[in-house]
Protein backbone atom coordinates (compact mmCIF):
# COMPACT_ATOMS: atom_id res chain seq x y z
CA UNK A 1 0.00 0.00 0.00
CA UNK A 2 1.31 3.43 -0.85
CA UNK A 3 2.48 5.65 1.97
CA UNK A 4 -0.08 8.36 1.20
CA UNK A 5 -2.87 5.80 1.26
CA UNK A 6 -1.68 4.43 4.58
CA UNK A 7 -1.58 7.90 6.06
CA UNK A 8 -5.11 8.59 4.81
CA UNK A 9 -6.29 5.25 6.24
CA UNK A 10 -4.76 6.14 9.58
CA UNK A 11 -6.46 9.52 9.65
CA UNK A 12 -9.84 8.06 8.73
CA UNK A 13 -9.46 5.27 11.24
CA UNK A 14 -8.42 7.64 14.03
CA UNK A 15 -11.34 9.96 13.27
CA UNK A 16 -13.76 7.03 13.44
CA UNK A 17 -12.65 6.33 16.99
CA UNK A 18 -13.87 9.76 18.08
CA UNK A 19 -17.07 10.18 16.09
CA UNK A 20 -20.42 9.23 17.44
CA UNK A 21 -22.52 6.64 15.70
CA UNK A 22 -25.42 8.72 14.40
CA UNK A 23 -27.89 5.90 13.75
CA UNK A 24 -31.17 6.52 15.53
CA UNK A 25 -32.91 3.63 17.26
CA UNK A 26 -36.68 3.61 17.78
CA UNK A 27 -36.75 1.57 20.95
CA UNK A 28 -36.20 3.04 24.39
CA UNK A 29 -32.56 2.76 25.28
CA UNK A 30 -31.12 1.78 28.58
CA UNK A 31 -28.06 3.60 29.87
CA UNK A 32 -25.78 0.81 28.80
CA UNK A 33 -27.12 0.78 25.26
CA UNK A 34 -26.47 4.52 24.98
CA UNK A 35 -22.77 3.73 25.09
CA UNK A 36 -23.00 2.58 21.51
CA UNK A 37 -23.74 6.13 20.43
CA UNK A 38 -20.52 7.62 21.66
CA UNK A 39 -17.00 7.43 20.33
CA UNK A 40 -14.59 4.85 21.71
CA UNK A 41 -12.17 7.64 22.54
CA UNK A 42 -12.64 11.21 23.74
CA UNK A 43 -10.48 14.33 23.63
CA UNK A 44 -8.34 13.17 26.56
CA UNK A 45 -6.60 10.82 24.10
CA UNK A 46 -5.61 13.88 22.09
CA UNK A 47 -4.09 15.32 25.27
CA UNK A 48 -1.89 12.21 25.49
CA UNK A 49 -0.78 12.69 21.90
CA UNK A 50 0.19 16.30 22.68
CA UNK A 51 2.63 14.98 25.29
CA UNK A 52 4.47 12.91 22.68
CA UNK A 53 7.32 14.40 20.68
CA UNK A 54 10.73 13.54 19.22
CA UNK A 55 12.28 13.27 22.68
CA UNK A 56 9.68 10.69 23.77
CA UNK A 57 8.18 9.30 20.55
CA UNK A 58 6.52 6.29 22.17
CA UNK A 59 4.81 7.98 25.09
CA UNK A 60 1.25 7.24 23.99
CA UNK A 61 1.83 3.54 23.31
CA UNK A 62 3.78 3.23 26.57
CA UNK A 63 0.97 4.68 28.65
CA UNK A 64 -1.67 2.73 26.75
CA UNK A 65 0.31 -0.49 27.24
CA UNK A 66 0.44 0.22 30.99
CA UNK A 67 -3.30 0.78 30.87
CA UNK A 68 -3.82 -2.61 29.18
CA UNK A 69 -1.64 -4.42 31.73
CA UNK A 70 -3.29 -2.70 34.68
CA UNK A 71 -6.80 -3.23 33.32
CA UNK A 72 -6.25 -6.91 32.52
CA UNK A 73 -5.28 -7.39 36.15
CA UNK A 74 -8.23 -5.38 37.48
CA UNK A 75 -10.78 -7.18 35.30
CA UNK A 76 -9.39 -10.50 36.46
CA UNK A 77 -9.66 -9.46 40.11
CA UNK A 78 -13.19 -8.20 39.53
CA UNK A 79 -14.27 -11.50 37.96
CA UNK A 80 -12.87 -13.38 40.95
CA UNK A 81 -14.47 -11.04 43.50
CA UNK A 82 -17.89 -11.19 41.87
CA UNK A 83 -17.74 -14.98 41.63
CA UNK A 84 -17.52 -15.37 45.40
CA UNK A 85 -20.45 -16.85 47.35
CA UNK A 86 -20.65 -13.64 49.31
CA UNK A 87 -19.49 -10.63 47.31
CA UNK A 88 -17.23 -8.27 49.24
CA UNK A 89 -18.11 -4.86 47.82
CA UNK A 90 -15.28 -3.31 49.79
CA UNK A 91 -13.01 -5.17 47.39
CA UNK A 92 -15.05 -4.61 44.25
CA UNK A 93 -15.56 -0.86 44.58
CA UNK A 94 -11.88 0.23 44.65
CA UNK A 95 -11.17 -1.86 41.54
CA UNK A 96 -14.01 -0.21 39.65
CA UNK A 97 -12.87 3.21 40.87
CA UNK A 98 -9.34 2.51 39.68
CA UNK A 99 -10.48 1.35 36.25
CA UNK A 100 -12.76 4.35 35.91
CA UNK A 101 -9.83 6.62 36.71
CA UNK A 102 -7.30 5.11 34.35
CA UNK A 103 -9.73 4.72 31.45
CA UNK A 104 -10.72 8.36 31.91
CA UNK A 105 -7.07 9.43 31.92
CA UNK A 106 -6.31 7.82 28.57
CA UNK A 107 -9.57 8.90 26.94
CA UNK A 108 -11.31 5.50 26.79
CA UNK A 109 -14.69 7.13 27.34
CA UNK A 110 -16.97 4.13 26.84
CA UNK A 111 -15.00 2.09 29.38
CA UNK A 112 -15.14 5.03 31.78
CA UNK A 113 -18.89 5.48 31.35
CA UNK A 114 -19.49 1.77 31.79
CA UNK A 115 -17.51 2.00 35.05
CA UNK A 116 -19.70 4.86 36.25
CA UNK A 117 -22.76 2.63 35.93
CA UNK A 118 -20.86 -0.25 37.54
CA UNK A 119 -19.94 1.95 40.46
CA UNK A 120 -23.54 2.85 41.26
CA UNK A 121 -24.51 -0.83 41.29
CA UNK A 122 -21.63 -1.37 43.74
CA UNK A 123 -22.95 1.39 45.94
CA UNK A 124 -26.36 -0.29 45.89
CA UNK A 125 -24.67 -3.64 46.60
CA UNK A 126 -26.60 -5.08 43.67
CA UNK A 127 -24.77 -8.29 42.73
CA UNK A 128 -26.72 -9.03 39.59
CA UNK A 129 -26.34 -5.47 38.37
CA UNK A 130 -22.61 -5.69 39.02
CA UNK A 131 -22.33 -8.89 37.01
CA UNK A 132 -24.05 -7.25 34.05
CA UNK A 133 -21.84 -4.19 34.38
CA UNK A 134 -18.69 -6.27 34.47
CA UNK A 135 -19.71 -7.88 31.18
CA UNK A 136 -20.35 -4.47 29.65
CA UNK A 137 -17.05 -3.06 30.92
CA UNK A 138 -15.19 -6.06 29.50
CA UNK A 139 -16.94 -5.65 26.16
CA UNK A 140 -16.00 -1.95 25.96
CA UNK A 141 -12.49 -2.64 27.16
CA UNK A 142 -11.78 -5.32 24.54
CA UNK A 143 -13.23 -3.03 21.91
CA UNK A 144 -10.97 -0.07 22.75
CA UNK A 145 -8.00 -2.40 23.18
CA UNK A 146 -8.57 -3.85 19.74
CA UNK A 147 -9.02 -0.41 18.16
CA UNK A 148 -5.92 1.06 19.78
CA UNK A 149 -3.79 -1.95 18.87
CA UNK A 150 -4.91 -1.50 15.28
CA UNK A 151 -4.11 2.20 15.46
CA UNK A 152 -0.60 1.52 16.70
CA UNK A 153 -0.05 -1.09 13.97
CA UNK A 154 -1.08 1.40 11.30
CA UNK A 155 1.34 3.94 12.77
CA UNK A 156 4.15 1.38 12.84
CA UNK A 157 3.56 0.51 9.19
CA UNK A 158 3.87 4.16 8.26
CA UNK A 159 7.03 4.66 10.28
CA UNK A 160 8.50 1.45 8.84
CA UNK A 161 7.89 2.85 5.35
CA UNK A 162 9.85 5.93 6.27
CA UNK A 163 6.80 8.17 6.60
CA UNK A 164 5.57 10.59 9.27
CA UNK A 165 2.47 10.10 11.35
CA UNK A 166 0.00 12.76 10.13
CA UNK A 167 -1.21 15.20 12.78
CA UNK A 168 -4.79 14.80 13.98
CA UNK A 169 -7.16 17.53 12.91
CA UNK A 170 -10.38 17.45 14.86
CA UNK A 171 -12.61 20.29 15.97
CA UNK A 172 -12.38 19.57 19.71
Amino acid sequence: MELVQMQKSLQDYTKSLFLDNLKVEESVLGVIQKLEFMGVLDSQFLQLQQLQDESNPHFVSQVVTLFFQDSDRILNDLSLSLDQQVVDFKKVYPHVHQLKGSSSSIGAQRVKNACVVFRSFCEQQNVEGCHRCLQQVKKEYYLVKNRLETLFKLEQQIVASGGMIPAMELGF
Binding site: Q47, Q50, D53, L66, P94, H97, G101, S102, S104
Partner: protein, 161 residues
Protein backbone atom coordinates in the same frame (compact mmCIF):
# COMPACT_ATOMS: atom_id res chain seq x y z
CA UNK B 1 7.54 21.33 22.40
CA UNK B 2 5.21 23.97 23.65
CA UNK B 3 5.98 24.73 27.27
CA UNK B 4 3.72 27.78 27.34
CA UNK B 5 4.39 31.40 28.05
CA UNK B 6 5.42 30.64 31.61
CA UNK B 7 8.89 29.50 30.55
CA UNK B 8 9.74 33.10 29.77
CA UNK B 9 8.79 33.98 33.36
CA UNK B 10 11.47 31.55 34.53
CA UNK B 11 14.17 33.59 32.84
CA UNK B 12 13.23 36.87 34.47
CA UNK B 13 15.40 36.60 37.54
CA UNK B 14 15.47 40.02 39.12
CA UNK B 15 12.90 41.58 41.38
CA UNK B 16 12.90 44.91 43.20
CA UNK B 17 15.18 43.63 45.93
CA UNK B 18 17.80 42.46 43.42
CA UNK B 19 17.61 38.83 44.45
CA UNK B 20 18.58 36.67 41.55
CA UNK B 21 16.23 33.72 41.37
CA UNK B 22 18.10 32.15 38.48
CA UNK B 23 16.79 29.30 36.37
CA UNK B 24 15.08 27.50 39.25
CA UNK B 25 13.12 24.45 38.38
CA UNK B 26 10.04 23.78 40.43
CA UNK B 27 10.42 20.49 42.26
CA UNK B 28 7.03 18.84 42.46
CA UNK B 29 6.02 15.86 44.58
CA UNK B 30 3.14 14.09 42.80
CA UNK B 31 1.08 11.64 44.84
CA UNK B 32 -1.40 9.22 43.23
CA UNK B 33 -2.22 5.57 43.83
CA UNK B 34 -3.17 5.05 40.16
CA UNK B 35 -0.16 4.04 38.06
CA UNK B 36 -1.47 5.51 34.81
CA UNK B 37 -2.34 8.81 36.49
CA UNK B 38 1.12 8.96 38.05
CA UNK B 39 2.73 8.50 34.63
CA UNK B 40 0.51 11.16 33.15
CA UNK B 41 1.02 13.79 35.84
CA UNK B 42 4.75 13.13 35.78
CA UNK B 43 4.89 13.71 32.02
CA UNK B 44 2.68 16.80 32.21
CA UNK B 45 4.96 18.32 34.86
CA UNK B 46 8.22 17.37 33.11
CA UNK B 47 7.01 18.88 29.84
CA UNK B 48 6.28 22.02 31.84
CA UNK B 49 9.95 22.05 32.96
CA UNK B 50 9.41 20.80 36.49
CA UNK B 51 11.54 18.32 38.36
CA UNK B 52 9.21 15.52 39.49
CA UNK B 53 9.22 12.98 42.28
CA UNK B 54 6.26 10.60 42.45
CA UNK B 55 4.78 8.72 45.40
CA UNK B 56 2.17 5.99 45.21
CA UNK B 57 0.50 6.83 48.51
CA UNK B 58 0.32 9.50 51.20
CA UNK B 59 2.53 7.59 53.68
CA UNK B 60 5.39 7.38 51.18
CA UNK B 61 4.88 11.06 50.40
CA UNK B 62 5.15 11.97 54.10
CA UNK B 63 8.30 9.89 54.44
CA UNK B 64 9.85 11.71 51.48
CA UNK B 65 8.92 15.04 53.03
CA UNK B 66 10.54 14.08 56.31
CA UNK B 67 7.25 13.79 58.16
CA UNK B 68 7.13 10.03 58.21
CA UNK B 69 8.26 7.34 60.59
CA UNK B 70 11.29 8.43 62.63
CA UNK B 71 13.21 5.31 61.51
CA UNK B 72 12.89 6.30 57.87
CA UNK B 73 13.47 9.98 58.29
CA UNK B 74 14.83 11.69 55.22
CA UNK B 75 15.98 15.20 55.93
CA UNK B 76 14.27 16.88 53.03
CA UNK B 77 15.11 20.34 54.25
CA UNK B 78 18.91 20.45 54.43
CA UNK B 79 19.39 18.57 51.15
CA UNK B 80 18.64 21.12 48.43
CA UNK B 81 18.01 18.43 45.84
CA UNK B 82 15.05 17.20 47.82
CA UNK B 83 13.41 20.53 48.63
CA UNK B 84 9.85 20.33 47.37
CA UNK B 85 8.21 23.47 45.98
CA UNK B 86 4.79 21.99 45.32
CA UNK B 87 2.79 18.94 46.29
CA UNK B 88 0.10 17.72 43.94
CA UNK B 89 -2.01 14.90 45.27
CA UNK B 90 -5.01 12.82 44.35
CA UNK B 91 -7.91 13.10 46.79
CA UNK B 92 -9.16 9.49 46.78
CA UNK B 93 -6.40 7.19 47.88
CA UNK B 94 -6.54 4.02 50.00
CA UNK B 95 -5.20 4.43 53.53
CA UNK B 96 -4.55 8.13 54.01
CA UNK B 97 -6.48 10.40 51.66
CA UNK B 98 -5.08 13.44 49.87
CA UNK B 99 -7.12 15.61 52.22
CA UNK B 100 -5.45 14.02 55.26
CA UNK B 101 -2.06 14.49 53.60
CA UNK B 102 -2.91 18.17 53.03
CA UNK B 103 -3.71 18.61 56.73
CA UNK B 104 -0.49 16.91 57.85
CA UNK B 105 1.55 19.20 55.60
CA UNK B 106 -0.25 22.32 56.81
CA UNK B 107 0.20 21.25 60.45
CA UNK B 108 3.96 20.97 59.97
CA UNK B 109 5.93 24.08 60.96
CA UNK B 110 8.55 23.22 58.33
CA UNK B 111 6.27 22.45 55.42
CA UNK B 112 3.12 24.50 55.89
CA UNK B 113 4.29 27.08 53.31
CA UNK B 114 4.54 24.44 50.57
CA UNK B 115 1.54 24.81 48.27
CA UNK B 116 -0.63 21.71 48.03
CA UNK B 117 -2.86 21.08 45.03
CA UNK B 118 -5.62 18.48 45.25
CA UNK B 119 -6.78 16.53 42.17
CA UNK B 120 -9.99 14.60 41.87
CA UNK B 121 -12.14 13.01 39.20
CA UNK B 122 -15.23 13.96 41.19
CA UNK B 123 -16.54 17.50 41.04
CA UNK B 124 -18.08 17.69 44.52
CA UNK B 125 -18.46 21.26 45.86
CA UNK B 126 -18.32 20.24 49.55
CA UNK B 127 -15.11 18.32 48.87
CA UNK B 128 -13.58 21.24 46.99
CA UNK B 129 -14.52 23.73 49.70
CA UNK B 130 -13.23 21.46 52.44
CA UNK B 131 -9.84 21.25 50.74
CA UNK B 132 -9.57 24.96 50.03
CA UNK B 133 -10.65 25.76 53.61
CA UNK B 134 -7.88 23.50 54.92
CA UNK B 135 -5.25 25.38 52.95
CA UNK B 136 -5.15 23.74 49.53
CA UNK B 137 -3.74 26.10 46.90
CA UNK B 138 -5.99 24.81 44.14
CA UNK B 139 -8.36 22.03 43.30
CA UNK B 140 -7.95 20.44 39.88
CA UNK B 141 -10.35 18.25 37.98
CA UNK B 142 -9.03 14.99 36.58
CA UNK B 143 -8.09 13.97 34.00
CA UNK B 144 -5.43 16.65 33.86
CA UNK B 145 -4.67 18.45 30.63
CA UNK B 146 -1.54 20.27 29.56
CA UNK B 147 -3.35 23.62 29.87
CA UNK B 148 -4.20 22.85 33.53
CA UNK B 149 -0.54 22.39 34.41
CA UNK B 150 0.46 25.54 32.51
CA UNK B 151 -2.17 27.56 34.42
CA UNK B 152 -0.93 26.05 37.67
CA UNK B 153 2.67 27.02 36.98
CA UNK B 154 1.75 30.59 36.09
CA UNK B 155 -0.27 30.85 39.29
CA UNK B 156 2.62 29.53 41.37
CA UNK B 157 5.29 31.64 39.67
CA UNK B 158 3.22 34.76 40.33
CA UNK B 159 2.89 33.76 43.98
CA UNK B 160 6.65 33.20 44.34
CA UNK B 161 7.87 36.52 42.89
Amino acid sequence: MNSGSCSSLMEVGYDDHHHHHGHEELHVLAVDDNLIDRKLVEKLLKISSCKVTTAENAIRALEYLGLGDQDQHIDALTNNDLKVNLIITDYCMPGMTGFELLKKVKESSNLKEVPVVIMSSENIPTRINKCLASGAQMFMQKPLKLSDVEKLKCHLMNCRS
